[in-house]
């Protein structure tokens, strides 16, 4: 069942268009993550739904009811802010009670609702403290408590974990996930952190420049990125992107990837402008092999540039003779960078700087993109 719908929503601040026109449907009880770099319009989308901003154009529905023109008060939504926005002059009790007070709930009901939320988040011992006396994690919980206290139709979370240290972030991330499943309230969750998005989201919408690049389950986005942006945004280190060069030699179609010639058998169609390979798709092949690609494998030669040891695995950066492609922050989606490939390797011996290495990846591990950066399905080969 559709619970929140954006239809042709456009938002401009003066001449500056933040969202050029967007459709999105959020299912009932779903946790949908809006993921993207800063300035991509994900927070604006949240604020439009909250009623803190009004769309320039288009319609938003909650539970099938159009809410345009309504203020935040009339929408029955709850929001967790990035800095928590706890009321500094009120105690934890006062903060938790505030939404109930604003609904005009009588004192007894308020007390009951407040205690219920406090219990759900383990805040009971802190009720008489003020926000300034709380730790970061406690503040975060109070903000959550204030959101759940009055059973809203929709939860909005705007980077709720970004002010926490790494360990607390993992812990509270899990708590948020559990809480959301238990309460089964439709939730929109904004973040720029792909790990949060992948672990929490039922579905994830990757945004850029106010446009949803791809919407799907986390595994879908990772395994079948719809375009170069999604491919490069998800994954750490990001997907390696190479520009293939096609040439005819002795009547045979050849392709060169990252400076290594291959027979055409890699099966790459000529309209492919970018080939993507995830770092974990690589393994090290016995050196001195003929190079190039077999029917089902792909090989690339290079020199070890540096190695990052991450415990059970290591990331080897390989210098190849040709530039590779990197996502850019500026205009235009991608640019050429120095020829470094990343390979995530387990169990192979430590490589030293300058050592010559041949990486190999299964042809099935390739992602193809056309000149506009859109994915070309690899199963039509």
């Amino acid at each position: 069942m559709a619970d929140v719908e954006f239809k042709g929503v456009r938002k401009a601040f003066g001449d500056h268009i933040v969202i050029p026109g967007l459709d999105l449907t959020v299912q009932d009880a779903e946790l949908l993550v809006l993921l993207g770099p800063s300035g991509c319009g994900k927070s604006t989308l949240l604020r439009l739904l909250a009623g803190l901003e009004q769309p320039t154009d288009g319609e938003i529905r909650i539970h099938g009811r159009p809410v345009d023109g309504l203020g935040p008060r009339a929408r029955n939504i709850a929001m967790v802010f990035q800095n928590y926005a706890l009321y500094p002059h009120l105690t934890v009790r006062g903060n938790l009670e505030f939404p109930l007070r604003m609904r005009g709930m009588p004192r007894a009901g308020r007390e009951r609702g407040m205690l219920e939320a406090a219990r759900a988040l383990g805040l009971e011992p802190l009720l008489e403290k003020r926000p300034a006396e709380l730790s970061g994690g406690q503040r975060q919980r109070v903000a959550m408590g204030r959101a759940i206290v009055r059973e809203p139709d929709v939860f909005l979370m705007d980077e709720p974990l970004s002010n926490l240290d790494a360990r607390l972030r993992v812990q509270i991330r899990a708590e948020i996930g559990a809480l959301q499943r238990r309460l089964a309230v439709t939730t929109l969750y904004v973040t720029h952190d792909q790990v949060e998005a992948m672990t929490l989201g039922d579905r994830v919408a990757v945004m850029r420049d106010g446009v949803i690049q791809q919407l799907g389950r986390p595994a879908e986005l990772y395994d079948r990125p719809a375009n170069l942006f999604v491919a490069g945004f998800l994954g750490n280190p990001p997907m390696n992107l190479l520009e293939p060069t096609f040439e005819r030699r002795d009547g045979e179609r050849m392709v060169r990837l990252g400076g290594t010639w291959a027979r055409p058998s890699a099966g790459i169609p000529e309209r492919v402008r970018y080939v993507g390979i995830r770092p974990e798709a690589f393994s090290i092949s016995a050196s001195g092999n003929s190079g190039g690609a077999r029917q089902d494998r792909l090989e690339i030669q290079g020199l070890v540039d540096s190695v990052e040891v991450l415990g059970h695995e290591r990331i080897v950066y390989l210098r190849v003779p040709e530039p590779v492609v990197e996502l850019s922050d500026g205009p235009g989606p991608w640019r050429s960078a120095e020829g470094l490939l990343a390979a995530r390797l387990t169990g192979s011996p430590v490589r030293k700087h300058g050592e010559s290495v041949t990486l190999t990846a299964p042809a099935a591990g390739m992602h193809w993109f056309d000149e506009d950066g859109n994915a070309i399905p690899t199963d039509v080969r």
Partner: protein, 279 residues
């Protein structure tokens, strides 16, 4: 740099500071000590060190202040008038400053322009027509007429406006999402967190109006509603001229300000540094 020259520098700095202190403190000491001396000696001893080291102390002058002029009435008037100006002024100007800083409404730009424009109109330029305007209404010679015209203050509106602009927006947005309307957000969330602005503006308003002289001079005739600055000017022209009494009056007049100053020094400094209107 050698140690001796550093030491010399400190000694020099202190010497200069102490010399300045003497200049700043002498008139004040002169007033305080004069208030404790017999009237005739204030002027007679002004030229000698006796001005600062009297041989007799008495509180006679203070008694005289209450006996010769209605000091209590002056003080009460000053307190009431300033209480009204500061109390009402804080509310009215904070309201306006908030509407200008935070709310989205048609007319906001024009109103902000108006406030900034009238900021340059000095009170002295409108004292005469305002006197006429209010006299036509038959409104004069009471406490309210000394206070009400100064409640709405473009400078105070501007100070509140800047303060609210600098307040993090998220608190108000959270309140809105939590179901508060515009007014309840303002009263329940913004006001309790704007104490710094209120303190600064209160002090600026108080400083500016405690010494107010021209307007009450124009608007009041009965001693019962006249404030302290008129009192001391009046006392000063009241024969026989008794300097000890006048100094005692001065000490009493400045005492409330001094107490406030010592207690709220931080806010005084901040308030004045942010405005610079006192004159």
């Amino acid at each position: 740099m050698s140690r001796t020259s550093a030491l010399l520098r400190v000694v020099l700095a202190y010497t200069l500071l102490l010399a300045c202190t003497l200049v700043f403190i002498a008139p004040v000491l002169f007033m305080i000590i004069g208030s404790l001396k017999p009237d005739a000696l204030v002027l007679a001893e002004a030229g000698s060190l006796r001005a600062f080291l009297p041989d007799t102390f008495s509180l006679d002058n203070y008694r005289a202040v209450f006996e010769r002029v209605p000091f209590g009435a002056y003080l009460l008037s000053s307190l009431i008038v300033n209480g009204l100006i500061v109390g009402l002024g804080l509310l009215v100007n904070a309201f306006a400053g908030y509407a200008l800083a935070r709310l989205r409404w048609w007319g906001r730009g024009a109103m902000l322009g108006l406030v900034l424009a009238v900021l340059v109109i000095p009170f002295e330029a409108i004292a005469i027509p305002l006197f006429y305007q209010l006299s036509w209404l038959g409104w004069r010679d009471d406490w309210l007429v000394q206070a009400i015209p100064f409640v709405a203050n473009p400078l105070a509106i501007f100070l509140f406006y800047s303060f609210f602009l600098g307040l993090p927006r998220e608190l108000e947005e959270a309140a809105r999402v939590d179901g508060a309307g515009v007014l309840s957000t303002f009263f329940l969330i913004v006001l309790p967190n704007a104490k710094a602005a209120f303190a600064s503006v209160a002090i600026v308003l108080f400083l500016f109006h405690w010494g107010m002289y021209l307007w009450p001079l124009l608007m009041t005739t009965s001693e019962g509603v006249r404030p302290l600055p008129l009192g001391i000017a009046n006392f000063y022209t009241l024969p026989p001229l008794q300097w000890g009494d006048i100094m005692a009056f001065g000490v009493l007049m400045v005492l409330p300000v001094l107490i406030l100053f010592v207690v709220f020094q931080r806010w005084f400094v901040r308030g004045v540094a942010s405005t610079g209107v006192k004159g």
